[in-house]
Subunit: 233 residues, 2 copies
Amino acid sequence: MAKQDRAIRTRQSILVAAARVFEERGYQAATISEILAAAGVTKGALYFHFQSKEDLAEGVLAEQDQQLAVPSRACKVQELADVVLLHAYRLQTDPMVRAGVRLALDQRAQGLDRSGPFLRWREIGTDLLMRAQVQGELLPHVDPAETAGIVVGSFAGIQAMSQALTDYQDLTLRVSELLRHLLPSITMSSVLTALDLTPQRGEKVCTEIEQERLELAAQEERDAARQEPATVS
Amino acid sequence: MAKQDRAIRTRQSILVAAARVFEERGYQAATISEILAAAGVTKGALYFHFQSKEDLAEGVLAEQDQQLAVPSRACKVQELADVVLLHAYRLQTDPMVRAGVRLALDQRAQGLDRSGPFLRWREIGTDLLMRAQVQGELLPHVDPAETAGIVVGSFAGIQAMSQALTDYQDLTLRVSELLRHLLPSITMSSVLTALDLTPQRGEKVCTEIEQERLELAAQEERDAARQEPATVS
Protein backbone atom coordinates (compact mmCIF):
# COMPACT_ATOMS: atom_id res chain seq x y z
CA MET A 1 0.00 0.00 0.00
CA ALA A 2 1.40 3.45 -0.89
CA LYS A 3 2.22 5.80 1.98
CA GLN A 4 -0.56 8.16 0.88
CA ASP A 5 -3.15 5.36 0.83
CA ARG A 6 -2.16 4.40 4.36
CA ALA A 7 -2.52 7.99 5.58
CA ILE A 8 -5.97 8.21 3.99
CA ARG A 9 -7.02 4.96 5.69
CA THR A 10 -5.71 6.10 9.08
CA ARG A 11 -7.55 9.40 8.71
CA GLN A 12 -10.71 7.52 7.76
CA SER A 13 -10.51 5.12 10.71
CA ILE A 14 -10.02 8.08 13.09
CA LEU A 15 -13.11 9.77 11.62
CA VAL A 16 -15.20 6.59 11.95
CA ALA A 17 -14.13 6.32 15.63
CA ALA A 18 -14.85 10.01 16.22
CA ALA A 19 -18.30 9.64 14.63
CA ARG A 20 -19.08 6.73 16.95
CA VAL A 21 -17.88 8.56 20.09
CA PHE A 22 -19.72 11.80 19.17
CA GLU A 23 -22.90 9.84 18.57
CA GLU A 24 -22.66 7.92 21.86
CA ARG A 25 -21.47 10.71 24.14
CA GLY A 26 -22.51 13.90 22.40
CA TYR A 27 -20.07 16.52 21.16
CA GLN A 28 -19.58 18.35 24.44
CA ALA A 29 -19.02 15.25 26.62
CA ALA A 30 -16.76 13.45 24.10
CA THR A 31 -13.00 13.60 24.73
CA ILE A 32 -10.00 13.12 22.46
CA SER A 33 -8.80 10.25 24.72
CA GLU A 34 -12.04 8.36 24.08
CA ILE A 35 -11.66 8.89 20.34
CA LEU A 36 -8.02 7.74 20.56
CA ALA A 37 -9.06 4.57 22.38
CA ALA A 38 -11.87 3.86 19.89
CA ALA A 39 -9.63 4.47 16.85
CA GLY A 40 -6.72 2.40 18.19
CA VAL A 41 -4.13 4.82 16.74
CA THR A 42 -1.29 6.71 18.43
CA LYS A 43 -1.73 10.23 19.75
CA GLY A 44 0.83 11.37 17.16
CA ALA A 45 -1.16 9.86 14.28
CA LEU A 46 -4.35 11.53 15.47
CA TYR A 47 -2.74 14.96 15.89
CA PHE A 48 -1.06 14.59 12.48
CA HIS A 49 -4.53 14.61 10.90
CA PHE A 50 -6.61 16.63 13.37
CA GLN A 51 -5.62 19.55 15.61
CA SER A 52 -8.56 19.46 18.03
CA LYS A 53 -11.94 17.97 18.91
CA GLU A 54 -13.57 20.73 16.86
CA ASP A 55 -11.38 19.72 13.91
CA LEU A 56 -12.54 16.10 14.27
CA ALA A 57 -16.18 17.15 14.32
CA GLU A 58 -15.69 19.32 11.23
CA GLY A 59 -14.13 16.26 9.59
CA VAL A 60 -17.19 14.12 10.38
CA LEU A 61 -19.48 16.88 9.12
CA ALA A 62 -17.48 17.30 5.89
CA GLU A 63 -17.41 13.53 5.32
CA GLN A 64 -21.15 13.31 4.82
CA ASP A 65 -21.14 16.08 2.20
CA GLN A 66 -19.09 13.81 -0.04
CA GLN A 67 -21.85 11.25 0.28
CA LEU A 68 -24.37 13.57 -1.34
CA ALA A 69 -23.15 13.09 -4.94
CA VAL A 70 -25.56 11.18 -7.20
CA PRO A 71 -25.40 10.25 -10.90
CA SER A 72 -26.41 13.14 -13.14
CA ARG A 73 -30.02 13.03 -14.43
CA ALA A 74 -31.64 14.74 -17.40
CA CYS A 75 -34.43 15.88 -15.03
CA LYS A 76 -32.87 18.05 -12.31
CA VAL A 77 -35.87 17.76 -9.96
CA GLN A 78 -35.32 13.98 -10.05
CA GLU A 79 -31.62 14.54 -9.32
CA LEU A 80 -32.58 16.64 -6.27
CA ALA A 81 -35.03 13.94 -5.15
CA ASP A 82 -32.24 11.37 -5.62
CA VAL A 83 -29.88 13.36 -3.37
CA VAL A 84 -32.56 13.54 -0.67
CA LEU A 85 -33.73 9.91 -0.91
CA LEU A 86 -30.16 8.56 -1.08
CA HIS A 87 -29.28 10.58 2.03
CA ALA A 88 -32.31 9.12 3.84
CA TYR A 89 -31.22 5.61 2.87
CA ARG A 90 -27.62 6.26 4.03
CA LEU A 91 -28.89 7.68 7.32
CA GLN A 92 -30.65 4.37 7.92
CA THR A 93 -27.56 2.35 7.07
CA ASP A 94 -24.31 4.37 7.57
CA PRO A 95 -23.14 5.37 11.11
CA MET A 96 -20.86 8.13 9.73
CA VAL A 97 -23.76 9.86 7.98
CA ARG A 98 -25.86 9.49 11.14
CA ALA A 99 -23.15 11.06 13.32
CA GLY A 100 -22.79 13.98 10.91
CA VAL A 101 -26.50 14.78 10.97
CA ARG A 102 -26.59 14.55 14.78
CA LEU A 103 -23.64 16.92 15.11
CA ALA A 104 -25.33 19.39 12.75
CA LEU A 105 -28.44 19.30 14.95
CA ASP A 106 -26.63 19.21 18.33
CA GLN A 107 -27.83 22.40 19.94
CA ARG A 108 -25.24 22.25 22.68
CA ALA A 109 -22.21 21.70 20.46
CA GLN A 110 -20.74 25.03 21.42
CA GLY A 111 -17.75 26.31 19.51
CA LEU A 112 -18.68 24.09 16.58
CA ASP A 113 -19.99 25.78 13.47
CA ARG A 114 -23.22 23.86 12.95
CA SER A 115 -24.39 26.21 10.21
CA GLY A 116 -21.88 24.64 7.78
CA PRO A 117 -23.87 21.56 6.73
CA PHE A 118 -27.15 23.50 6.47
CA LEU A 119 -25.45 26.07 4.24
CA ARG A 120 -23.66 23.47 2.09
CA TRP A 121 -26.80 21.36 1.66
CA ARG A 122 -28.77 24.46 0.77
CA GLU A 123 -26.11 25.38 -1.78
CA ILE A 124 -26.32 21.95 -3.42
CA GLY A 125 -30.12 22.23 -3.51
CA THR A 126 -30.06 25.79 -4.86
CA ASP A 127 -27.67 24.78 -7.63
CA LEU A 128 -29.85 21.84 -8.73
CA LEU A 129 -33.05 23.91 -8.58
CA MET A 130 -31.47 26.72 -10.62
CA ARG A 131 -30.61 24.19 -13.31
CA ALA A 132 -34.16 22.77 -13.10
CA GLN A 133 -35.45 26.32 -13.54
CA VAL A 134 -33.32 26.93 -16.65
CA GLN A 135 -34.71 23.69 -18.13
CA GLY A 136 -38.28 24.85 -17.49
CA GLU A 137 -39.05 22.15 -14.89
CA LEU A 138 -40.24 24.58 -12.19
CA LEU A 139 -43.36 26.70 -11.77
CA PRO A 140 -42.71 30.38 -12.59
CA HIS A 141 -42.87 31.74 -9.01
CA VAL A 142 -40.14 29.49 -7.53
CA ASP A 143 -37.13 31.05 -5.77
CA PRO A 144 -34.49 28.26 -5.88
CA ALA A 145 -32.63 29.39 -2.71
CA GLU A 146 -35.87 29.68 -0.71
CA THR A 147 -37.10 26.25 -1.81
CA ALA A 148 -33.68 24.67 -1.20
CA GLY A 149 -33.77 26.03 2.37
CA ILE A 150 -37.22 24.52 2.91
CA VAL A 151 -36.11 21.12 1.56
CA VAL A 152 -32.98 21.06 3.76
CA GLY A 153 -34.73 22.31 6.90
CA SER A 154 -37.74 20.04 6.61
CA PHE A 155 -35.53 17.01 5.86
CA ALA A 156 -33.59 17.71 9.07
CA GLY A 157 -36.81 17.65 11.08
CA ILE A 158 -38.34 14.61 9.38
CA GLN A 159 -35.19 12.64 10.20
CA ALA A 160 -35.25 13.82 13.85
CA MET A 161 -38.90 12.77 14.16
CA SER A 162 -38.25 9.41 12.49
CA GLN A 163 -35.31 8.82 14.82
CA ALA A 164 -37.34 9.69 17.93
CA LEU A 165 -40.41 7.64 16.95
CA THR A 166 -39.01 4.61 15.10
CA ASP A 167 -35.18 4.76 15.33
CA TYR A 168 -35.10 5.49 11.56
CA GLN A 169 -37.22 2.45 10.62
CA ASP A 170 -39.74 4.61 8.73
CA LEU A 171 -37.25 7.23 7.47
CA THR A 172 -37.29 6.45 3.73
CA LEU A 173 -41.10 6.29 3.79
CA ARG A 174 -41.39 9.65 5.58
CA VAL A 175 -38.90 11.36 3.28
CA SER A 176 -40.79 10.04 0.25
CA GLU A 177 -43.97 11.55 1.78
CA LEU A 178 -42.14 14.84 2.39
CA LEU A 179 -41.11 15.11 -1.27
CA ARG A 180 -44.66 14.30 -2.40
CA HIS A 181 -45.82 17.21 -0.23
CA LEU A 182 -43.15 19.72 -1.31
CA LEU A 183 -42.56 19.07 -5.01
CA PRO A 184 -46.10 19.64 -6.37
CA SER A 185 -45.88 23.27 -5.13
CA ILE A 186 -42.80 23.99 -7.24
CA THR A 187 -42.74 21.54 -10.18
CA MET A 188 -44.54 21.58 -13.58
CA SER A 189 -47.17 18.83 -13.55
CA SER A 190 -45.74 17.23 -16.71
CA VAL A 191 -42.44 16.80 -14.82
CA LEU A 192 -44.17 15.54 -11.65
CA THR A 193 -45.71 12.56 -13.42
CA ALA A 194 -42.27 11.33 -14.53
CA LEU A 195 -40.63 11.43 -11.09
CA ASP A 196 -39.67 8.39 -8.99
CA LEU A 197 -40.24 9.44 -5.37
CA THR A 198 -40.82 5.96 -3.93
CA PRO A 199 -39.25 4.99 -0.56
CA GLN A 200 -37.08 2.41 -2.44
CA ARG A 201 -35.47 5.04 -4.67
CA GLY A 202 -32.57 5.79 -2.29
CA GLU A 203 -31.44 2.17 -2.15
CA LYS A 204 -31.66 1.92 -5.97
CA VAL A 205 -29.45 5.00 -6.40
CA CYS A 206 -27.01 3.62 -3.84
CA THR A 207 -26.72 0.31 -5.75
CA GLU A 208 -26.25 2.25 -8.99
CA ILE A 209 -23.35 4.22 -7.47
CA GLU A 210 -21.72 1.06 -6.09
CA GLN A 211 -22.05 -0.60 -9.50
CA GLU A 212 -20.38 2.40 -11.19
CA ARG A 213 -17.58 2.35 -8.64
CA LEU A 214 -16.92 -1.38 -9.18
CA GLU A 215 -16.89 -0.94 -12.96
CA LEU A 216 -14.49 1.98 -12.67
CA ALA A 217 -12.18 -0.03 -10.40
CA ALA A 218 -12.26 -3.01 -12.80
CA GLN A 219 -11.50 -0.69 -15.70
CA GLU A 220 -8.54 0.83 -13.82
CA GLU A 221 -7.22 -2.63 -13.03
CA ARG A 222 -7.45 -3.65 -16.69
CA ASP A 223 -5.68 -0.44 -17.71
CA ALA A 224 -2.94 -1.04 -15.14
CA ALA A 225 -2.50 -4.67 -16.28
CA ARG A 226 -2.18 -3.51 -19.89
CA GLN A 227 0.46 -0.90 -18.99
CA GLU A 228 2.54 -3.04 -16.64
CA PRO A 229 4.44 -5.16 -19.21
CA ALA A 230 5.26 -1.91 -21.05
CA THR A 231 6.73 -0.45 -17.86
CA VAL A 232 8.80 -3.59 -17.19
CA SER A 233 10.21 -3.90 -20.69
CA MET B 1 -53.90 34.71 47.23
CA ALA B 2 -55.66 31.37 47.66
CA LYS B 3 -53.49 28.38 48.64
CA GLN B 4 -54.21 26.73 45.27
CA ASP B 5 -53.14 29.84 43.31
CA ARG B 6 -49.89 29.95 45.26
CA ALA B 7 -49.18 26.28 44.52
CA ILE B 8 -49.82 26.88 40.80
CA ARG B 9 -47.42 29.85 40.81
CA THR B 10 -44.70 27.89 42.63
CA ARG B 11 -45.07 25.04 40.14
CA GLN B 12 -44.88 27.52 37.27
CA SER B 13 -41.74 29.23 38.61
CA ILE B 14 -40.05 25.83 39.06
CA LEU B 15 -40.90 24.94 35.45
CA VAL B 16 -39.54 28.25 34.16
CA ALA B 17 -36.29 27.65 36.08
CA ALA B 18 -36.09 24.06 34.83
CA ALA B 19 -36.64 25.25 31.25
CA ARG B 20 -33.78 27.73 31.60
CA VAL B 21 -31.38 25.16 33.12
CA PHE B 22 -32.27 22.47 30.53
CA GLU B 23 -31.70 24.97 27.73
CA GLU B 24 -28.34 26.15 29.09
CA ARG B 25 -26.91 22.82 30.22
CA GLY B 26 -28.79 20.22 28.21
CA TYR B 27 -31.00 17.56 29.76
CA GLN B 28 -28.28 15.08 30.64
CA ALA B 29 -25.89 17.57 32.27
CA ALA B 30 -28.60 19.47 34.20
CA THR B 31 -29.02 18.65 37.90
CA ILE B 32 -31.91 19.11 40.31
CA SER B 33 -29.65 21.27 42.54
CA GLU B 34 -29.11 23.71 39.67
CA ILE B 35 -32.85 23.88 39.06
CA LEU B 36 -33.45 24.41 42.80
CA ALA B 37 -30.95 27.29 42.84
CA ALA B 38 -32.45 28.88 39.72
CA ALA B 39 -36.03 28.55 41.00
CA GLY B 40 -35.25 29.86 44.50
CA VAL B 41 -37.65 27.40 46.16
CA THR B 42 -37.09 24.84 48.89
CA LYS B 43 -36.26 21.22 48.13
CA GLY B 44 -39.56 20.25 49.74
CA ALA B 45 -41.54 22.57 47.45
CA LEU B 46 -39.84 21.18 44.37
CA TYR B 47 -40.38 17.54 45.33
CA PHE B 48 -44.01 18.30 46.22
CA HIS B 49 -44.58 19.11 42.54
CA PHE B 50 -41.99 16.97 40.73
CA GLN B 51 -40.58 13.57 41.65
CA SER B 52 -37.48 13.61 39.42
CA LYS B 53 -35.52 15.38 36.71
CA GLU B 54 -37.45 13.36 34.16
CA ASP B 55 -40.67 14.58 35.74
CA LEU B 56 -39.48 18.19 35.40
CA ALA B 57 -38.62 17.69 31.74
CA GLU B 58 -42.02 16.12 31.09
CA GLY B 59 -43.54 19.20 32.77
CA VAL B 60 -41.64 21.56 30.45
CA LEU B 61 -42.66 19.46 27.44
CA ALA B 62 -46.32 19.39 28.52
CA GLU B 63 -46.32 23.15 29.17
CA GLN B 64 -45.80 24.02 25.53
CA ASP B 65 -48.68 21.83 24.39
CA GLN B 66 -51.03 24.15 26.24
CA GLN B 67 -49.60 26.99 24.19
CA LEU B 68 -50.80 25.44 20.95
CA ALA B 69 -54.48 26.40 21.38
CA VAL B 70 -55.70 29.06 18.93
CA PRO B 71 -59.13 30.66 18.39
CA SER B 72 -61.44 28.43 16.35
CA ARG B 73 -61.68 29.32 12.62
CA ALA B 74 -64.36 28.49 10.06
CA CYS B 75 -61.56 27.37 7.75
CA LYS B 76 -59.69 24.50 9.44
CA VAL B 77 -56.62 24.77 7.17
CA GLN B 78 -56.27 28.36 8.39
CA GLU B 79 -56.64 27.13 11.99
CA LEU B 80 -53.80 24.64 11.39
CA ALA B 81 -51.67 27.41 9.83
CA ASP B 82 -52.47 29.59 12.88
CA VAL B 83 -51.24 26.86 15.26
CA VAL B 84 -47.99 26.56 13.31
CA LEU B 85 -47.37 30.31 12.83
CA LEU B 86 -48.26 31.11 16.45
CA HIS B 87 -45.85 28.42 17.63
CA ALA B 88 -43.11 29.93 15.45
CA TYR B 89 -43.78 33.37 16.94
CA ARG B 90 -43.72 31.98 20.50
CA LEU B 91 -40.45 30.14 19.81
CA GLN B 92 -38.93 33.50 18.91
CA THR B 93 -40.25 35.16 22.05
CA ASP B 94 -40.93 32.63 24.87
CA PRO B 95 -38.04 30.78 26.64
CA MET B 96 -40.39 28.05 27.93
CA VAL B 97 -41.53 27.15 24.42
CA ARG B 98 -37.92 27.20 23.25
CA ALA B 99 -36.81 24.83 26.05
CA GLY B 100 -39.64 22.43 25.25
CA VAL B 101 -38.71 22.21 21.57
CA ARG B 102 -35.05 21.67 22.43
CA LEU B 103 -35.87 18.90 24.87
CA ALA B 104 -38.02 17.21 22.22
CA LEU B 105 -35.09 17.34 19.79
CA ASP B 106 -32.36 16.48 22.33
CA GLN B 107 -30.99 13.25 20.93
CA ARG B 108 -29.04 12.49 24.07
CA ALA B 109 -31.87 13.00 26.56
CA GLN B 110 -31.86 9.34 27.54
CA GLY B 111 -34.65 8.04 29.69
CA LEU B 112 -36.85 10.90 28.57
CA ASP B 113 -39.73 10.08 26.26
CA ARG B 114 -39.07 12.51 23.43
CA SER B 115 -41.69 10.95 21.20
CA GLY B 116 -44.43 12.57 23.34
CA PRO B 117 -44.43 16.06 21.78
CA PHE B 118 -44.13 14.72 18.22
CA LEU B 119 -47.09 12.40 18.82
CA ARG B 120 -49.21 15.06 20.53
CA TRP B 121 -48.49 17.68 17.84
CA ARG B 122 -49.27 15.13 15.15
CA GLU B 123 -52.54 14.32 16.91
CA ILE B 124 -53.53 18.01 16.99
CA GLY B 125 -52.65 18.31 13.30
CA THR B 126 -54.49 15.12 12.35
CA ASP B 127 -57.61 16.28 14.17
CA LEU B 128 -57.65 19.67 12.40
CA LEU B 129 -56.97 18.11 9.00
CA MET B 130 -59.75 15.55 9.49
CA ARG B 131 -62.15 18.39 10.18
CA ALA B 132 -60.80 20.26 7.12
CA GLN B 133 -61.44 17.10 5.09
CA VAL B 134 -65.03 16.79 6.28
CA GLN B 135 -65.59 20.42 5.24
CA GLY B 136 -64.21 19.73 1.77
CA GLU B 137 -61.14 21.95 2.15
CA LEU B 138 -58.63 19.25 1.17
CA LEU B 139 -57.72 17.57 -2.10
CA PRO B 140 -59.23 14.07 -2.39
CA HIS B 141 -55.99 12.08 -1.97
CA VAL B 142 -54.95 13.57 1.40
CA ASP B 143 -54.28 11.26 4.38
CA PRO B 144 -54.66 13.59 7.42
CA ALA B 145 -52.31 11.60 9.69
CA GLU B 146 -49.59 11.43 7.03
CA THR B 147 -49.80 15.15 6.25
CA ALA B 148 -49.87 16.04 9.96
CA GLY B 149 -46.65 14.05 10.46
CA ILE B 150 -45.00 15.92 7.58
CA VAL B 151 -46.09 19.31 8.98
CA VAL B 152 -44.80 18.48 12.49
CA GLY B 153 -41.53 16.94 11.32
CA SER B 154 -40.68 19.64 8.82
CA PHE B 155 -41.53 22.38 11.33
CA ALA B 156 -39.08 20.79 13.80
CA GLY B 157 -36.31 20.93 11.21
CA ILE B 158 -37.06 24.43 9.93
CA GLN B 159 -36.81 25.72 13.50
CA ALA B 160 -33.51 23.89 14.09
CA MET B 161 -32.08 25.39 10.90
CA SER B 162 -33.35 28.86 11.76
CA GLN B 163 -31.82 28.54 15.21
CA ALA B 164 -28.44 27.40 13.84
CA LEU B 165 -28.27 30.03 11.08
CA THR B 166 -29.95 33.12 12.57
CA ASP B 167 -30.74 32.37 16.25
CA TYR B 168 -34.47 32.37 15.29
CA GLN B 169 -34.36 35.82 13.65
CA ASP B 170 -35.82 34.46 10.39
CA LEU B 171 -38.06 31.80 11.96
CA THR B 172 -41.50 33.29 11.20
CA LEU B 173 -40.41 34.00 7.61
CA ARG B 174 -39.13 30.44 7.09
CA VAL B 175 -42.25 28.86 8.61
CA SER B 176 -44.42 31.02 6.36
CA GLU B 177 -42.37 29.73 3.39
CA LEU B 178 -42.75 26.15 4.63
CA LEU B 179 -46.55 26.45 4.70
CA ARG B 180 -46.57 27.99 1.23
CA HIS B 181 -44.64 24.92 0.06
CA LEU B 182 -46.75 22.29 1.86
CA LEU B 183 -50.33 23.55 1.69
CA PRO B 184 -50.78 23.79 -2.11
CA SER B 185 -50.22 20.00 -2.31
CA ILE B 186 -53.14 19.23 0.00
CA THR B 187 -55.61 22.17 -0.16
CA MET B 188 -58.36 23.05 -2.68
CA SER B 189 -57.25 26.12 -4.63
CA SER B 190 -60.40 28.07 -3.70
CA VAL B 191 -59.38 27.64 -0.04
CA LEU B 192 -55.72 28.50 -0.71
CA THR B 193 -56.56 31.98 -2.02
CA ALA B 194 -58.32 32.86 1.25
CA LEU B 195 -55.47 31.84 3.59
CA ASP B 196 -53.29 34.25 5.58
CA LEU B 197 -49.84 32.61 5.68
CA THR B 198 -47.79 35.80 6.13
CA PRO B 199 -44.86 35.83 8.60
CA GLN B 200 -46.81 38.37 10.72
CA ARG B 201 -49.76 36.02 11.23
CA GLY B 202 -48.38 34.40 14.42
CA GLU B 203 -48.00 37.72 16.23
CA LYS B 204 -51.54 38.74 15.17
CA VAL B 205 -53.00 35.50 16.58
CA CYS B 206 -50.98 35.98 19.78
CA THR B 207 -52.38 39.50 20.24
CA GLU B 208 -55.89 38.19 19.57
CA ILE B 209 -55.48 35.53 22.30
CA GLU B 210 -54.11 38.09 24.80
CA GLN B 211 -57.03 40.41 24.02
CA GLU B 212 -59.53 37.60 24.63
CA ARG B 213 -57.80 36.71 27.90
CA LEU B 214 -57.94 40.35 29.14
CA GLU B 215 -61.62 40.66 28.21
CA LEU B 216 -62.40 37.41 30.03
CA ALA B 217 -60.52 38.59 33.15
CA ALA B 218 -62.36 41.96 33.09
CA GLN B 219 -65.67 40.15 32.73
CA GLU B 220 -64.85 37.89 35.69
CA GLU B 221 -63.92 40.90 37.81
CA ARG B 222 -67.20 42.63 36.94
CA ASP B 223 -69.12 39.44 37.83
CA ALA B 224 -67.24 39.15 41.15
CA ALA B 225 -67.90 42.84 42.01
CA ARG B 226 -71.59 42.36 41.33
CA GLN B 227 -71.77 39.26 43.59
CA GLU B 228 -69.67 40.62 46.48
CA PRO B 229 -72.29 42.85 48.23
CA ALA B 230 -74.71 39.92 48.15
CA THR B 231 -72.12 37.72 49.95
CA VAL B 232 -71.44 40.37 52.62
CA SER B 233 -75.10 41.16 53.41
